[in-house]
């Protein structure tokens, strides 16, 4: 689907509101939306909600052989995907620009900053190293994907535990999760991206832009920083001219914000660890609150269940037993059997053409029988094939009846005659062979 276009009055309103220092949801200029972090049952699975923007992160690991020029370092792999449920405009083929931009920014933020110690991921130099893969999925797009994605990535990495490995001489033992507790990754610092949106050629600045604000902004500045006030990555897009002191101011704001967010992350991780240690319930089902639509809430009606059992028995005793299903298969020829009866074919034309095929087939040579498709209610007992079957006004005097085992042919003529009775007006009786042309 195409993106909903932004109307002129919305754009005007947003810009005027920003000039008056008002945001749509009542935030201040430097305020972040509510950040909620929740963890899944597996280690390394987390969901981050930045307002309504939602990102799911999952970390997994695998033993592989290292790159040739980096024989003692593990491999990191980051992947962000924009799911189609995030916004109607995200379609499988159409997101390439935004996707590439976000992926590159994420890689620079996490890989080039060396926040993860890749040397510690080495198991046997030159042969086996850990490959850590971080998959991020955007579940809902309400602005500022990059911030939410970077938080999700670093939280998932901090939460993840890899299986323990021990090396003794030439022997490498990989312990399963039951044998030894898994080991966390060694993370030096936590880089987090902070986005600044600029409006009116850099005059006005907003932190953590909403989706609407992103549509009317002139340019975007992303600063990735950790809590030690080290800038890991800085990127300016949109082509606006920024002054030096503007960038410095933004970096100061980013420092404050990153400190707050890092504290939040530490608290969330500590909480989760505590719950797991105490044996309490953890996982998404516990942490994501139910969202109810109160407009359709019904009052609970007390149900009297005391006489349910008697009522059920009443109903069962009065109901008819279900009709018995004939389940004995009938063997026509070796390799061909029929189970049950089909429903009558209600297509008039098909009856005619089928009969014609059967005619021609019957008068010429030995018949290869398919399972019988047409059967009517009148032909009820296939089981009694040995009873003599009367051929009523059948036109097929010339038809040769072959009997491999039982008398299948008689059944077929019976069905033919039965259907013939059913549709007498459909075709003139004499001109059988030409009825296709007549019809």
């Amino acid at each position: 689907m195409k993106e909903t276009p932004l109307s002129n009055c919305e754009r005007r309103f947003l810009l005027r509101a920003i000039e008056e220092k008002k945001r749509l949801d009542g935030r201040q200029t430097y305020d972040y939306r509510n950040i909620k972090i929740s963890f899944g049952t597996d280690y390394g699975c987390c969901t981050v909600e930045l307002g309504k923007t939602r990102v799911l992160g999952q970390v997994s690991c695998e033993l592989v052989s290292p790159k040739l020029n980096r024989a003692t370092e593990g491999i990191l792999f980051f992947n962000l995907e924009l799911s189609q449920m995030a916004a109607p405009a995200f379609e499988p083929g159409r997101q390439s620009d935004l996707l590439v931009k976000l992926n590159r920014l994420l890689e620079r933020c996490l890989r080039n900053s060396k926040c993860i110690d890749t040397e510690s991921l080495c198991v046997v130099a030159g042969e086996k190293v850990w490959q850590i893969r971080v998959d991020l999925h955007l579940l809902n797009h309400d602005g500022n994907i990059i911030d939410a994605a970077s938080i999700a990535a670093i939280v998932a990495l901090c939460h993840f535990r890899r299986p323990d490995v021990s090396v003794q001489g030439d022997e490498v033992t990989l312990y399963t999760l039951e044998e030894r507790d898994p080991v966390p990754l060694s993370i030096h610092h936590m880089p987090i991206c902070v986005s600044f949106a600029f409006f009116q050629q850099g005059t006005y600045l907003l932190v953590d832009p909403n989706e609407r604000e992103e549509r009317v902004m002139d340019g975007l500045l992303v600063i990735a920083m950790n809590k030690h006030r080290e800038i890991c990555t800085i990127q300016s897009s949109g082509g606006i001219m920024l002054l030096k002191d503007q960038v410095l101011r933004c970096s100061k704001i980013a420092g404050v914000k990153v400190a707050e967010i890092t504290e939040l992350i530490q608290k969330a991780l500590a909480n989760d660890q505590k719950v797991r240690k105490e044996g309490g319930k953890f996982g998404f089902a516990e942490s994501i609150a139910n969202q109810r639509i109160t407009a359709f809430r019904m009052e609970k009606a007390p149900i009297d269940t005391s006489d349910v059992e008697e009522k059920a028995e009443e109903i069962i005793s009065e109901a008819e037993p279900p009709s018995e299903v004939v389940s004995k298969p009938v063997l026509w020829t070796p390799g061909t059997a029929q189970i049950g009866e089909g429903i009558e074919n209600s297509w008039g034309d098909l009856e005619d053409s089928e009969k014609e095929d059967e005619d021609e087939g019957g008068s010429d040579e030995a018949i290869i029988l398919d399972s019988i498709k047409m059967d009517t209610g009148e032909v009820s007992n296939i089981g009694s094939q040995d009873a003599p079957i009367v051929l009523s006004d059948s036109e097929e005097e010339e038809m040769i009846i072959l009997e491999p085992d039982k008398n299948p042919k008689k059944i077929r003529t019976q069905t033919i005659s039965a259907t013939q009775v059913k549709a007498p007006s459909k075709k003139p009786v004499k001109k059988r062979k030409k009825k296709r042309a007549a019809n």
């Binding site: 276009p5 932004l6 002129n8 009055c9 754009r11 005007r12 309103f13 359709f296 019904m298 008819e320």
Partner: protein
């Protein structure tokens, strides 16, 4: 054959179809079958299969029953196609059996003929405007469908403007067409919506609630500030008040009304009225 199919359907479903009257205001799920009032006699417990088939629709008590959104006629019963609460409205003039429909919650709009919607003009091509209404296709709006428009006197519509109009053609096989003029040729409130103000999106159920007669929310909102407001059945609301702050407050209140109970709402309104 219809009888046999009906019997098969009953035994496959594993339960008996319920009377529509008994299920009013309760949640129904897609796939349920409901009986209209005229058919309830033969449905005592255990009479599976012996029900006489009523083919004569006119002899039913209550006359003609209209089935509204979320319901479909299936044989001589109503089949539920959307989940929600079943509602019924008695006929005003006495004939007919009234209207049954399912009140469901939805955000995605599907164009329906006769609906008044707010659209955004996306393109001008020759004689028609392409207007985005939130459906799968943009609707087309001819420049002659405005009040007082002639070939020489074209309406002043730019790309990105907001239009309030109604659908004259809206089905699943053709692109929808809308007009800003009613059947007498008068605008009747439709046309280009003014320049300022804020457009925001809510669910379709909230719009229907707000547009119901005697809507409390609207009365309370009207007491707060003087305002202009336009509701589109496609979930879009345009609101304009004297200052930007007031407009923002109104927009946030209307969006939040979706999930608030009446008491919470009254609290918020009283707090706003004080400040």
């Amino acid at each position: 054959m219809a009888e046999a199919a009906a019997v098969v359907a009953e035994s496959l479903a594993g339960y008996r179809a319920r009377a529509a009257r008994a299920v009013l205001e309760q949640v129904v799920l897609p796939g349920e079958e409901l009986l209209l009032p005229g058919q309830e006699d033969g449905e005592g417990p255990g009479s599976a299969g012996e029900r006489p088939l009523r083919l004569n629709a006119g002899a039913r008590s209550g006359g003609r029953v209209v089935c509204g959104p979320g319901l479909r006629r299936c044989g001589d019963r109503l089949l539920v196609t959307k989940c929600g609460r079943l509602r019924h409205k008695e006929p005003g003039s006495g004939n007919g059996g009234g209207v049954y429909w399912v009140d469901s919650q939805q955000k995605r709009y599907v164009p329906v003929k006769g609906d008044h919607v707010i659209g955004i003009v996306t393109a001008k091509s020759g004689d028609i405007f392409k207007v985005d209404v939130g459906g799968s296709e943009p609707a087309s709006l001819s420049y002659l469908s405005f009040e007082g428009a002639t070939k020489r006197n074209r309406p002043n519509v730019q790309v990105g403007d907001l239009i309030y109009g109604q659908f004259v053609v809206a089905n699943k096989d053709m692109e929808p067409e809308m007009v800003c003029i009613d059947s007498c040729g008068r605008a009747n409130g439709m046309g280009v919506i003014g320049q300022d103000g804020l457009l925001f999106k809510v669910t379709l159920g909230l719009i229907r609630r707000l547009l119901a007669p005697d809507c409390e929310i609207l009365q309370e909102v009207g007491k707060l500030y003087p305002l202009e407001i336009v509701f589109g059945m496609n979930g879009r609301i345009w609101v304009k008040a004297k200052t930007i702050q007031q407009t923002l407050i109104l927009a946030n209140i209307l969006e939040a009304c979706e999930h608030m109970t009446a008491d919470q709402r009254k609290q918020i309104f009283s707090r706003l009225a004080e400040s």
